[in-house]
Amino acid sequence: MSEIEIRSAAPILEMRNISKTFGKLKALRNVQFGIVKGEVHALMGENGAGKSTLMKILAGAIRPDAGSEILIDGHPVAMAGPMAAKELGVAVIYQELSLSPNLTVAENIYLGREIQGKGLATGWLDRMAMIKGSADVLQRLGASFTADATVCDLTLAERQLVEIARAVHSNSKILIMDEPTTTLTERETERLFTIIRTLRAEGLAIVYISHRMEEVYELSDRVTVLRDGTYVGTLETHGINPGAIVQMMVGRDISSFYKKNHDAHQLRGRSILSVKGMSDTGRVKDCSLELHENEVLGIAGLVGAGRTELARLIYGADKSICGSVAVDGVATRIATPLDAIRAGILYLTEDRKELGLFLDMSIGENINVGVAARDAHLGWLLNFAKGRERSGQAIKELNIKASSAKVLVGSLSGGNQQKVLLSRLLELNPRVLILDEPTRGVDIGAKSEIYRLIDDLAKKGIGVIVISSELPELIGICDRVLVMREGRIAGELGGPVNAAINQHNIAAILTAAPECDGPEPRFAQNTQQESRAS
């Protein structure tokens, strides 16, 4: 849709003077937001800027303060609750998908509006009619599964499609998508974008919340930026400078977003971690890598390429069937995470809520849980003084925003949670730090702090492995990048002898057609790299 059209079209939704106060704190102050039919409107802001609150108000999950106005098709409406919002045509696709995994796709699409039989069959489900009714929507969205598939058999991307189908099927006019691509692979993201464009062409208004600048740039017609609960402005996406949006979001200039001040190439000396022939029962196949002091080594790959699995094998979280690990040149047997921690290898999980943090425990306890045994009096009595000292220092150094170390971790924002988890690892004096998606679900301010932290750690001589799905991140902070594909290390970039690290080169290795089983001849073969490096 062109800019002129957007300006002239009557907005399908207008939100004016939206304020929301929780107790004494103002979450939103006179925020405005509008969207027209057939528009993708990106909503951006740091975590804590008020995006979620605004969207919860739109979805009827919370009530705004008096004086706030919401107009749909020019008529003022009261979003009395989620059901009311649904009836007004507002549908939300949440980050945590809200499907019933044990039911079929059709049953999920019709959930709450099931088709009943007629006459004697009243009260009985008419499954056939539901399957027929949803097949049409699924086809329109280009789904590769059928309406009678059970949701738990679907991938995350497919589940998301079911959610979208449900929204479309119930004739929603406004679709809110909250970070829809966080869990998708690049290929799946592409498909999602195609679907979003189709929906836009059909006249839906789509509110798109994302942290990823490139997506917003590629997809949206307009961008509205919020900061600290206030409205900063709305821009037309076409022709704007991404730097301008970032500046609007953080209110300051981030000139050097990525940090790479350490110089691994000059300092590259001793190998501190050497992994050889690591394999498990099928997801990781014969992976070898070498990590040096002062080095940041990236691992790129699509979701399912075996990156996390490889990291977990090195860390001893899963059992390997063959492969060896040497730390500082000394062969080390790592069968459990405890072995790895004792050897100085630490792993930051990609799933901090489920596998990393103890959400019901305080910041202090979370930071100290790993190191508590080392600090303890007599080996078993907790050393509270030392614990307070450690958590106080970590909160200060990593700039964790919390009123005290006694705050429960579950109440923190994503970025602060990630910093707490990072400090737990740092307290254990790592030699090797394996960071799995260190900036996932983290706002832009915390992101740049994490990059700076990685850079500082590398300066101190720690070897850092960064697994990431965000190519700009890998390109921005890594000295070398390994690319994984189908469980193998398919290529290496950066360093003195390889091709340069850039988006094109990574993508070339990522997307190479699957080879028949056997070594990959296409790019510098990894084993050779390793022998040269070591």
Binding site: L25, G45, P337, G370, A376, L381, S413
Partner: protein
């Protein structure tokens, strides 16, 4: 804190709430306990005189003697509840404590009857409880079997074992060497109460002052995260079921000491349910990771106060069951309502 979106905001609120939460959790049921005590003072008085103006003065509930009886009645359940707290904090459950109590009591009385070995009665009973608890723990920690199923099985099996130990008869010893535990007192405080209170204090120290305690909370919060942070989860599980078994053994000693006898069939029947009720009344989360031992003490006292108060008021046995059931559900509902919106159940 500059952040101010919905998420962070509700977070900020939760924060003020949650920094108070340990306090609220322990205090949680204390008001209920006190109100129950005051109510029973009135009720017993009214039941006596049928006159509300005199009810308070003539109530029999709040006498030193009655309170001491209540504390004694609560003591065994408190000890079992303490063990249960360890287990439930890791997200598990131990249904076998009633049976282990019976088996240990049998061991205690039987050993006391052996000439020359009677001094071994208490250690043998404790060791027996510990061993049975470790069996539970081993199956759960190393074979990764679900706690509910393992302890449901051992509840039945150990009950059988308890009957086997005395050839399915009641064993007596009128000259029980450790009878003072059940009937004696020190500085006017019954030994049963001293033991129960000491158990609570030691449990508190273990849970809140040691590395192992921190690890127990961590395992309950998220076993996967605990393993990844280098905690030996199987060891922690083995420990908590061992503690539960050991304390059930202690409960067996206390029961036997009170009765000068033990019976494998009747002793400790459905004690596990009272212990679980005490833990839950105390505000400990059933999914693990949240809770305190002081809550369990208060929970056990509430159950004991209810039983004693209803008897004194003259409520029939049948209605006692119905009322106790509703009080448990109501108290927990109240707790949930008050803490609505906190991180987890």
């Amino acid at each position: 804190m500059t952040a101010s979106s919905g998420n962070d905001l509700s977070g900020t609120f939760k924060k003020y709430q949650t920094s108070l939460m340990p306090l609220i959790h322990t205090m949680g049921m204390l008001p209920v306990l006190l109100i129950l005590c005051l109510m029973f003072q009135l009720f017993t008085g009214y039941a006596e005189t049928a006159d509300f103006s005199n009810a308070w003065a003539s109530g029999r509930f709040l006498s030193w003697q009655n309170l001491s009886i209540i504390a004694q009645q609560a003591s065994i359940n408190t000890v079992l509840g303490a063990g249960m707290t360890f287990v439930i904090l890791t997200g598990g459950i131990d249904l076998s404590v009633g049976s282990i109590l019976a088996a240990s009591a049998m061991v205690a009385v039987s050993t006391s009857l052996l000439p020359g070995l009677s001094f071994m009665a208490v250690p043998a009973a404790l060791a027996g409880g510990l061993a049975l608890g470790l069996c539970n723990g081993g199956l759960i920690a190393f074979l990764k079997l679900p706690p509910f199923i393992v302890t449901l099985g051992s509840m039945t099996a150990v009950r059988g074992l308890a009957r086997l130990l005395g050839n399915d008869t009641t064993v007596f010893n009128s000259d029980l060497p450790f009878a003072f535990i059940g009937n004696g007192s020190i500085f006017n405080i019954p030994w049963l109460v001293v033991i129960a209170f000491a158990t609570v204090v030691i449990s508190w120290a273990l849970l809140r002052r040691t590395v192992l305690g921190l690890h127990i909370y961590a395992v309950g919060g998220s076993p996967d995260a605990a393993r990844l942070s280098g905690i030996r989860v199987p060891f922690v599980l083995l420990f908590v079921y061992g503690v539960s078994g050991l304390l059930a053994g202690l409960g067996g000693v206390m029961s036997a000491a009170r009765l000068y006898a033990a019976n494998g069939l009747q002793l400790g029947q459905s004690y596990e349910l009272d212990a679980i009720a005490a833990v839950i009344l105390g505000g400990t989360s059933f999914v693990g990771g949240v809770g305190s031992i002081w809550g369990t003490l208060i929970g056990a006292l509430i159950i004991s106060v209810l039983t004693n108060g209803l008897v004194l008021t003259g409520v029939s046995d049948i209605w006692q069951f119905i009322i106790k059931g509703f009080v448990i559900i109501g108290a927990v509902a109240l707790d949930r309502y008050r803490l609505r919106g906190s991180a987890r159940t």
